[in-house]
Structure formats: C-alpha cells, structure tokens
C-alpha cells in the first residue's frame, strides 16, 4: 500500500520527458488531448496520494484518532514517518493551492479586462481591432469567440499573412483550446513536475492552430512566414525583455516555424503513438495506483475503527 501511494507522487517525474516527445512526434490535434488528459490524471493521482498521507498523519494524532472514532491505532507500514510526511504533504498542498488561487484570480481578471475592452469596441465579423502602437494579437475565448488584434500588428503583416493569423486564432476558438490550457494549468499546480506537461500542452495547442491555419490558407510556407514576421514585430517592441532561453536551445516560435517548413513526415507518425501510449499508461497507472491505495487505506481505517475484522 505504501508503494501504491508513493507511485502517483513519483510517476509525474517521468511525465515531462514523455510529454516532450509526444508534443514533438504526435500530430498536434490529438497531442493536445493526450497531454491534457494525462496531466489531469497524473494530477488527480498525486492529489489523492497526498490526501491519503495527510489523513494518515492526522489519524496518528490522538485528537483526530478520537474524532475518527478509531478503536485501535491505525496500522501503517510507515508509522515512523507518518506524521512528518503528513506535515510535508500539507505543506505541498498549501503551496499548490495558494499558487492555483493566485493564478485563477489573475487570469479571471485578465479575461474580464479583455472582454470589457472588446465590448466597448465595434466588432467586424469576429474581429476586434485595437488602435495601439504595440503589435499584439490573441484569441479571446467566449461565445462567440473573438480575435483581438492591434493596428500595429495589422500593419506588420501583409494581407495573406493576416489571413494566416485570423485562421490561427479562429482555430483556437473553434477547438476551445483555452479549456485545455486551463486544465493543464490546474494540473501544473497539483504537482511541480507537471509544469513541463503544461508547457508541452501550450506548445501543441499553438501547433494545432498553426496546422489548421496552414490547411485554411493552403500554404505551409506562408503560414511559417506569418508566424516569424509577427514574432519579430512583437519582439522589436521589447528590447528590454530578458533572454528567456539559454543559447543552445530554441524557443517555441522557431520550433513552430521549423515544424511548418518540414513537410509532415509519415514515417515519424507511425513511431509516434508509442510515446503517447506510454504517457497514457503512465497516467492510467497513477490513477489506478492511487485509487487502489486509497481503497486499501480506507479498509485499514475501518479495521482501526473496529468495524471490520483485521
């Protein structure tokens, strides 16, 4: 049982490597699903495991043991460390919950501000133009979804490149990518190792929208050029921004551009599902282990309560 409850806490640590490979090899649209569901399952598993650790620790304390109506002391294989590990689990849960609440509040505020801006402006079709000297564009989720673009971004791109941008943002809204990103964000606050899975989810959502845009305009090279030009235009206005990536690595935008310039390779697709299957297996194991562990733990509590025979 100890191992069953430790497994969900350890499995997320191998998830980043699998998520990174899934993002690179699986077609982006299914990859968004696989990564999001895996992140949620791994997050659920680790939260259940942490919860079990906390309850165990509490039931070791006389006060909570009497509240829990325990007739006998709770028998666990990790008696010596039950209270310290429960304290650690409480700490982890508190830190995660605090970060989650802060992030949720901030994002709700951002969304409200963006929606308020769009309400005050005329909308042509699904497009809202903001007269601003900063090149910027984003998909604003809602019913219906909107595309917000600044005049500076409009002028940075030619007409064909703008169509790419519109198709990209429409894909985000049509596939409701913001829900996947919110789910991945939630998971990232449940276990620190799942932050890398969230980043992989963000990247595949962008890739899925890129591919949808390339299909809509019928030109991968044009799509790549539009992304590159938009990125350079946004960058020119932030000379003070710190370098986010070390010299040897490439950031998400060049990877997206390179992926569009490389023709979709069928031989890589065949190998891809194995990574995705491995990630799904990892997530399933986490859920099963935590569920089995929790059921076993519940049984031990009932034994301690004297309700069932040992």
């Amino acid at each position: 049982m100890t191992a069953l409850l430790l497994l969900p806490l350890l499995l997320p640590f191998i998830a980043p490597a699998l998520a990174e490979r899934t993002a690179r090899r699986l077609a982006p649209a299914p990859a968004v699903w696989v990564l999001t569901l895996a992140a949620l399952a791994l997050a659920g598993g680790s939260v259940i495991a942490l919860g079990a650790l906390v309850v165990t620790g509490l039931l070791k304390l006389p006060l909570f043991a009497s509240l829990g109506e325990l007739a006998h002391p709770l028998r666990t294989p990790w008696d010596a460390v039950a209270v310290p590990s429960a304290a650690a689990a409480v700490g982890l849960i508190a830190v995660g919950a605090w970060a989650l609440i802060r992030s949720a509040v901030r994002q709700a505020r951002t969304l409200r501000a963006a929606h308020a801006e769009v309400r005050r402006r005329p909308v042509a079709g699904d497009l809202c133009v903001v007269d601003s000297p900063y090149p910027d564009a984003y998909a604003l989720p809602g019913r219906p979804g909107r595309i917000v673009i600044t005049t500076a971004m409009i002028r940075s791109l030619d007409a064909a490149e703008r169509e790419v941008l519109f198709a990209h943002e429409r894909a985000h809204n049509a596939y409701r990518h913001h829900l996947f990103l919110a789910a991945a964000e939630l998971a990232a606050h449940c276990h620190p190792a799942l932050r890398a899975v969230r980043d992989a989810t963000r990247y595949t959502a962008e890739r899925a929208a890129d591919e949808a845009a390339a299909a809509a305009v019928g030109d991968r090279r044009l799509t790549a050029r539009a992304i590159a030009r938009a990125a350079l235009a946004s960058g020119a206005h932030h000379p003070e921004r710190p370098a986010v990536a070390p010299a040897a690595t490439t950031g998400p935008v060049p990877r997206r551009v390179a992926a569009l310039l490389a023709a979709p390779a069928p031989h890589r697709r065949r190998a891809a599902p194995w990574v995705a299957v491995l990630l799904a297996a990892c997530a399933t194991t986490s859920v099963c282990a935590s569920a089995t562990g929790a059921i076993g733990f519940h049984h031990k509590i009932e034994v301690a309560q004297g309700e069932v025979a040992h």
Partner: protein
C-alpha cells in the same frame, strides 16, 4: 483561392479581412482597391456589400470619391485605453493560459533564427 471557395467563407470572416485591409492602408480605399488587397480574390459585389455593412455598423466611415465611395476605419476613443489595456495584459505572466497569443516571447537566438529564415523572401 477561387471565387467558388470564397462563396463558402462565412460573411463574418470576410468582414474581418476587409476591416484589416482598411486599417492596414492608412488612406481611404475604394471597393476596387479593397478587392485588390484581399488575397482570396472575392467578387467585387461581395466586397461592396461588406463595406456597406461595415459602414452601417459604424465600424467604417466613407467619403464620396468619383461615382462611388472610399472607405476608412473609424478610430475609436484615444489610444489611451489601448495603452492601458496593453500594460494590464502585459503584467500578467499567466496571460498565455487564458488568451492564446499568436506569438510567444523570443530569445535573441530565436530572433536571429527567424531573421535568417525571412531573409531570402525579403530580398
């Protein structure tokens, strides 16, 4: 990229494209000029209808020019609100999650990679 394909485009998408063309131009455009600027080559009548609709909604203004009109985008309240929104949104590191942005931030190496990529096309 044919007229047939364009017929299937929802009217809202064409409205968006036409408004973007008006903003990009900086000077009032006639329906013929708007049509020429659109990459997907819609029918002239479709463009004229769309411009009339933008005018009716108050999104575009128009001036008499020859026998027809030239259209321009209506500027909204001063750029102040835009500046405020930009700073508001820029402050939040978590913004990417709720507002899927077209492009993320670049490192200097990323910029060089993209410049090298665009260079042959810009020549």
């Amino acid at each position: 990229m044919t007229n047939a394909k364009d017929e299937r485009r929802p009217a809202g998408e064409l409205e968006a494209s036409v408004l973007a063309v008006l903003w990009a131009a900086g000077t009032p455009l006639t329906p013929a000029e708007v049509q020429a600027a659109l990459p997907h080559d819609p029918a002239r009548t479709t463009v004229t209808t769309t411009l009339a609709r933008l005018y009716d909604k108050g999104i575009a203004g128009r001036l008499r020019q020859g026998r027809g009109y030239a259209y321009f985008p209506v500027q909204d309240a001063p750029g102040l609100t835009a500046l405020r929104m930009h700073s508001e949104l820029e402050r939040d590191a978590d913004r990417e999650t709720v507002l899927a942005r077209f492009v993320a931030r670049l490192s200097p190496d990323d910029e060089q990679f993209l410049r090298d990529l665009l260079e042959p096309e810009d020549r």
